[in-house]
Subunit: 403 residues, 4 copies
């Protein structure tokens, strides 16, 4: 079995001694993650941020290893099979991501989330691998009785976000996102079946939450990144509209299928071949097609694609206050100029809201195990930095317009 | 002129091209800071934390250089002389520190703070150097008209704390204290004569405040460090008491002077030779004397010194709740055991409160320059992490007892 | 003008205040480098190594900035225009790279090196930009009288390799490749018009050479990377052969052009449109096409493409000794198995030699300025680590075979 | 049991779960290493280099842990007791160091090396600890049958130098000394009872040797460091001479003993109390005494001490060529000036040779395990960087003179 030790700039050497892990890692559907960037369009602002979902998945599995060792050293009962299953679950947690997921999910692949696709892929792999993944799927689905294993895969303090904060900080160069992951992992324990952090780790958790908050506003929701993501959404929306009207568009075969067919979530379940087609998609399909579209006869499509290709992104205004009034004024200016039809306006000028909640899809709280044995939510701990206010998602308002 | 480029593990190469800087750096009273540890007893918990006040002072002067360049590049008017003066002011800001300052100030050198001594030393150096430091002293004293220069030396966002957070994190290995100092420096500007941070730097400032908070609780007020600092205070207090009673104690000559004479703040002003004697003190005097005292006939002194020398520190209990009741119980147990007189109890069992305010001696707020031109205190910015609550100092209660 | 400060995980903030630099950076032909990985297939072994040629070019331009400041601070006469020209020259030094250059140059785009294409692109940009790049081109071509400026762009110690060693080490996680670039830059000076290193920098230069040597064998010529690069070469060769025979192959339009037409170096000069077509190529064209070919009817093409896609790479044996005998034995085994025709053998089993010279295309020596004013080649300095032996390229022998 | 996890800025968290390790760490003779700087006077050039021998010893024991785990994972038979013994041996390898060892050993404590004192201390501790250290001593003395365990403690690739290179690089900020220790440790294995490095680790070993070489010349034998070390030797020599003539000198009691008595190596063996006195010495004794001597009536002593205290170090000329002629000229100038007697000249102007061999006290070679099973010395491997020339110590010539 090869490739057991991998050089990771973030953590140093990471090890995959288990044959089960290697079997998944070497599967073509996992290797496919090598061709999907973790941070989508963020590299247009942070040029170093071109790391892949494969790399993130390997890193998260490494952190899981450390977390499990720590818990076992504290006497928490976790069998070897459970360790492998938890490692497999986190390894595959993102396996259903498509290229530029946020863009794709709103335009081309409807009514099905990447989590659902991950689950479908895991089931298919489980069949191929004769049930080897059954426990891993149970942990992913939180049907395994040891809830804390699921929480390591998916909760406010899971290995997913611990890795992506580390890795995204590292590759963007935004050092403020760096978290003391080793200290947090060392403070994890289990109480009443749930994952908790020992009281003395409270400041590290505070730092983690602040680092995450900082990464949202400085990176994930950076206004230029926001504009770039809306640009690719608009490109895909326009292409989809043209395709549905029967206009001819260059596309790689697998991309063509999703562009011209009307596939929804239900079809993934009823027709197994669709999942296989989905698993052929990666960043190159989208990128290669968009480049060709820069010279498409549809003026809107070609203009949007040129903008993306040559990094002439939307101008974005981001505010904590609603921007209705400003938007209306801009709109009149654009329409009065007379070069854009009102029906096409959405490609040239649009508004919306964004929230750090976008990334906050899980509701669980971070529980702190106090020295006296009580479990408190971090926002209820005396003198804690994290007030309950902070857990309310912050909404911001934006306007994007053509440069 | 030699030594212009210094290798600093924290920042890489740091440069001192100005002849004025070198003149101060090479002075024996600055070189003396080489023999005083920046973090006092913290190395008993964090063995790497043995860096010196000299190193910190050089680092802070380096950050000042970056800050001034940044401000000048934004068109803020700062003359070359002001640049040098501000660099000199921060270089000398800690020059009045004695060995184990917190311990010494409460026991041996009374009624005079290290800031005051710094000022006295600066004046003396200024005489020696024919007025070369006049502007630097004005900036230190905030009598120079450009307030922002003083704020770079001493305020919530000064180069002093920016360096000590960086450096103390680095040398303790507590990576959570790492701050994005380069980003903060880049966001500094001046408005209405005062130092402000541009709105887009707000998250970096939040991170800075959180890192500082974390360093307080995890490092500066770590319960074992707290215990070690009280141990050296008690050693010095006992030695002082014995000396004042005429008991013979080994001491290096300069330490002997302060141990046996009754020097107070007023004497520093009236008798210039005292300052010179003070400037002969460093960590080695205290350490060498304490080692000899481990075999002193006074049982209490020798026991306390052995504890310090062999790292058998006080056991410390730290709580957010008052510990009166617990303390009373412990006290009865100790006294009932019959081996300790009530008058000596303070060396064996004592209580107190500690606060992150200890380090928060300046009142200025961190001002944010909003995009619309307003200046807001960071706790008044919408959705800011830093609520006004957070700026209230947190008090904790402790009990120290003999191991 | 936007985007002046860029966050680089390798160096921190890097600055591009000059309008001329931004004009080139924002050009679509420079932006295209964003879509070409610096290290080709190396990410199949080092998953972090997905950084781009754009990022490398920005980094090299940053190092140039430091080097020029250092030289000016030593009194070397360099005008502002020359500084900008040198910065532009290094910024564009790789602008002619195609996707997977090493593979492409041997199979699809014949008889023209990426350096030549870089030069063609620079000339075209210079026309567009009304002669703004004239000096930069002169420096690149070494026709500018100040030779040392050319040497900063292209020599044994140029900013190109200084950046790629730093960056490739960083992104692969192979920390042994890390070089003390700041110290080397600080030791640079100019003597008799040529770039030299001060004697006291000799150990840093030794370390640089050793780090480079280590990166060759551990990364660039890693046997699995070698196998992966030969795999993509074979894929492209097979595809090219099929195309030339008229077999139908999916390809993105720009890739199709080079696949089906017979373009050679001369055509680039005679027909300007070819350069434009070339500048449409990037990694996505190759990757998207190869993925489609995994189901091509030609068995050899589809097998090779599946290998690449699913990371089932050639098995490679690397030796300092010739492997003739071993190769012959393997060959007989393969042919006797009867499933492969002798004419197709080259796709399944082949041998060759590799050399660290591959990357050593420049002949200049590293000159050391001794304290007595002499200039010596580093291999002639007494007690230097770098003997003349070491400068002879080392050849290794390899066999690749189907897994 | 306390202090099990220690924060090390170099390696992160390092763990000491074994009760045996903690028993030694908490012993006062080990804690004493906390008061002895690892790099002596080097902090006068590299202000960050104030780390202690205690910290180095803990770090080396951490690396031993990694090395032993790696070897065990490769099937090398090492019992739990042997693991602890090897950890103890490296933990104590420097326990016999006195303050400023190189200075002290040539002047005050004669005819006994720090290795011998380490051995005496280990024996004494072993008695105190009822034989717990017997195996550790056998490994240290190479009388334990598994030679490779001794080699991990003391050989060309031992954990001692692996840690000191890492740690000294880190604290000086000389990044060129950084070694890929994790990769080297991973390549260690045992063949025919001896420690060897797998062939694929050869480049990392080359890098290690080069880093070491660089650290010698750039740090350990830096000319200013060399001058500072000779200065303290001269201070101690002068003080010793005065003491032996009966002149009164201030000294801390333990230092006074060695200054005024004539202790040689034999006395350590015949009189156990001498070892105890030796173990009371640390940096503070020397520093506190030297400071007092700055005002001693002996002009030579006071001048030398002032130089040290105020960092006015010898001017040093370092050359690969003998400096006889130059020295003679300087000597005549100094003597002709008439202020210095010929008998005192050795304090004002002297010459000598230095060699990177100083630190190369072990003769073992680094053995490489080739893929074919052969063991070759690294200088015999084809194309290796390390020629046999390189293993010959390089001698340099120096002159030190009063500033």
């Amino acid at each position: 079995m090869r490739g057991k030790i991998i050089n990771d700039p973030v953590y140093g050497f990471i090890r995959f001694p288990e044959q089960e892990m290697m079997q998944v890692i070497e599967h073509k559907w996992f290797q496919r993650l090598r061709r999907i960037k973790q941070m989508g369009m963020a590299h247009l602002v942070y040029p170093g941020a071109v790391h892949t979902r494969l790399h993130h998945s390997l890193g998260a599995a490494h952190l899981m290893n450390i977390a499990l060792s720590e818990l076992r050293s504290k006497g928490i009962d976790i069998s070897r099979d459970e360790c492998i299953a938890a490692r497999l679950a986190i390894l595959m947690h993102d396996i259903g991501h498509g290229p530029f997921s946020h863009g794709l999910e709103h335009t081309i692949v409807h009514d099905i989330s990447h989590e659902t696709i991950s689950r479908l892929i895991m089931q298919r792999l489980n069949e191929e691998m004769d049930g080897m993944l059954t426990y891993a799927i149970a942990i992913f689905d939180n049907t395994h009785p040891k809830t804390f294993l699921h929480q390591l895969v998916s909760s406010q303090l899971d290995m997913d976000r611990m890795d992506y904060l580390n890795r995204d900080s590292f590759y963007t160069g935004v050092s403020e996102g760096v978290i003391g992951y080793d200290r947090i992992l060392q403070m994890l324990t289990v109480k009443d079946g749930g994952l908790v952090v020992e009281e003395k780790g409270i400041h590290s958790v505070e730092k983690f939450i602040v680092a995450r908050r900082l990464m949202y506003w400085q990176v994930y929701l950076h206004k230029t990144v926001l504009g770039a993501e809306h640009l690719i959404i608009n490109v895909l929306k326009r292409a989809r509209d043209l395709a549905q009207k029967g206009v001819d568009l260059f596309a790689t075969p697998s991309f063509r299928f999703f562009l011209y067919e009307k596939i929804n979530g239900h079809d993934f379940l009823s027709e197994p071949a669709i999942l296989e087609k989905f698993c052929l998609l990666d960043d190159a399909d989208i990128a290669a097609s968009i480049k060709v579209w820069t010279s498409h006869p549809d003026k809107i499509l070609s203009q949007l694609c040129s903008m993306l290709e040559n990094r002439r992104l939307y101008k974005v205004r981001l505010s904590t206050q609603p921007l209705e009034h400003e938007f209306e004024k801009m709109k009149q200016v654009v329409l009065n100029a007379g070069q854009i039809n009102e029906e096409d306006l959405e490609y040239f000028l649009f508004k919306g809201t964004t929230s750090n909640n976008t990334y906050n899809q899980y509701d669980e709280k971070i529980n702190i195990l106090m020295k006296n044995g009580d479990i408190l939510n971090i926002s209820d701990v005396d003198n804690a930095l994290i007030s309950s206010d902070l857990t309310v998602p912050v909404e911001k308002f934006y306007i994007c317009r053509m440069p």
